[in-house]
Symmetry: C2
Subunit: 299 residues, 2 copies
């Protein structure tokens, strides 16, 4: 890609990230709100420099299908709250036992395990409070969006993926089980983030089907890219311990298919994701750019 074009795209996504961050600042209780410890812990993890991938996917899919800006941004922020809750709980000593995340000590290292667990619980609950808050979107749409999202992040989605991931760590796995884990642990929520934008827009079932297909392929491609970064990345760039997956014998694509084949699979999935949006032509450029960014990113 032409460097000037690439810089312009980066600027665009930086602007979107800032919009999401301002919205997150609005929806989160202040650091002094009683009880302060849990609200400080919630803000600490939410503002620990994430990519805001899920909110941005929601915004772009909503923009593509004509959703109203203000309520769309609110929903996008709720997605990041859910993502942050999942990271706080995944990092706990009883789970992945991680001391660092995005270059900063993890929540339980700073606030203790009890407050970290409750900060996660509080973020998940706040997300549903926000998504169900009265607003300009017709109630039927909001309700379907809430139900859709809860399905994606529950035990038949993200939480279930984390369970199987933990149970599979340290033992060998087969391709079907690995895809099961990735599709649930990361894929279901990324798919739901793209769908959230479409549902907020009140899109037709065929539009919803297309962006769901994009989200599903993208979700899997993203997780494979993440596995690859763990093997190829450096601690400085990633801000967390790398080469951990191998040391813990986590089930990953590079471990099962090797690096080059994993790269090919990720590229193929990203292409399939973008093909699902062909009928929108240039209007889907942002979503195509995100797919491209995700499989070429170095951090």
């Amino acid at each position: 890609m032409n460097p000037a074009v690439s810089a312009k795209i980066d600027d665009y996504f930086e602007t979107q990230r800032e919009r999401v961050d301002r919205e997150l600042d609005q929806v989160l209780p202040g650091e002094d709100t009683d009880p302060a410890s849990v609200h400080r812990a919630m803000r600490y993890s939410v503002f620990a420099a994430g990519k805001r991938l899920r909110p941005i996917l929601c915004l772009e899919s909503g923009n593509l299908l004509g959703a109203e800006e203000r309520p769309l941004l609110r929903i996008a922020a709720a997605l990041e709250l859910i993502h942050t809750y999942s990271l706080i709980h995944d990092d706990l000593p009883a789970m992945d036992n991680d001391d660092f995340r995005r270059g900063k000590p993890t929540s339980h290292r700073v606030f203790g395990e009890a407050v970290a667990i409750l900060a996660g619980d509080g973020l998940l609950t706040l997300a549903f409070e926000i998504i169900a808050a009265p607003g300009p979107i017709p109630a039927e749409r909001q309700l379907r969006l809430t139900n859709d999202l809860a399905q994606a992040v529950g035990t038949r989605g993200m939480v279930g993926g984390q369970v199987v991931d933990l149970e599979t760590t340290g033992s060998s796995t087969d391709p079907a089980r690995l895809e099961f884990i990735h599709a649930r642990k990361t894929g279901a929520f990324i798919r739901a983030s793209v769908r959230a934008g479409a549902l907020a827009a009140g899109s037709s079932e065929s539009d919803l089907g297309r962006v769901s297909c994009y989200g599903e392929k993208m979700g899997l491609a993203f997780q494979i890219a993440d596995d690859l970064l763990d093997v190829l990345g450096s601690r400085e760039r990633m801000g967390k311990a790398v080469h951990k997956d191998g040391a813990h014998r986590k089930p990953t694509y590079p471990a099962l298919y090797g690096i080059e084949e994993s790269q090919r699979i990720a590229r193929r999935l990203a292409n399939q994701a973008c093909e699902a949006l062909t009928c929108y032509g240039g209007r889907a450029d942002r979503l195509v750019q995100i797919a491209d960014f995700l499989i070429t990113r170095q951090f």
Copy 2:
């Protein structure tokens, strides 16, 4: 109370509990649903013999104000899922570190900490999935109910109460802080359970105000009664460790006011709760009976 009347009331509430349990069995994924471990853990804690107080409060308030039976029962079941999630997380080693609950080993003792945390997360998420599922209740009502409930169990309600409870344990407290803890940790959710029935019925704001008042007073009375049982109850009856609050220097009403004054406060609150329902006459009998049961119960 006449023993024959009392036995008839017991039969009635036993029937209600059984209805709630059948509904819970329907909404929870089966024990063999992949990943089985987390679904087994969810069912283990949900079916560990609870009183089903929150579902029954929701059913009775909904009945009083004319809610439709089927969707009301679904909402009632969701309340019990949230209650169970809160118990699983509260019992964790990093929190209250309890080995027994309702006479059975706690979730983390049976399934390990990781699965216990994820079972809690899964139950909370499933509750919102169910409450936001498409159904016969108008979407506006369902949405308001979802938002109302999320507020009650988040960091400005139940989760916040648990944070302050943990932070206050072991240090002295004053009456205002104690009421703050109890009103949030138990009161907000009990109030929301009564409100859920009214919101499902699409009740007027004045009806909603009356049952909210009942719920608020009842929530506090219930927690004081619980504190008293910890001092007066026996391990056999309670099925969990008693006299724990004193040993851990938990903030409680008996510790601050003494046993007799605490009993007087609980009775006064229960009376105030029932007075809020005077205008309904005999139609509110079930809710009055629940108030009476809660402050005279021995378990």
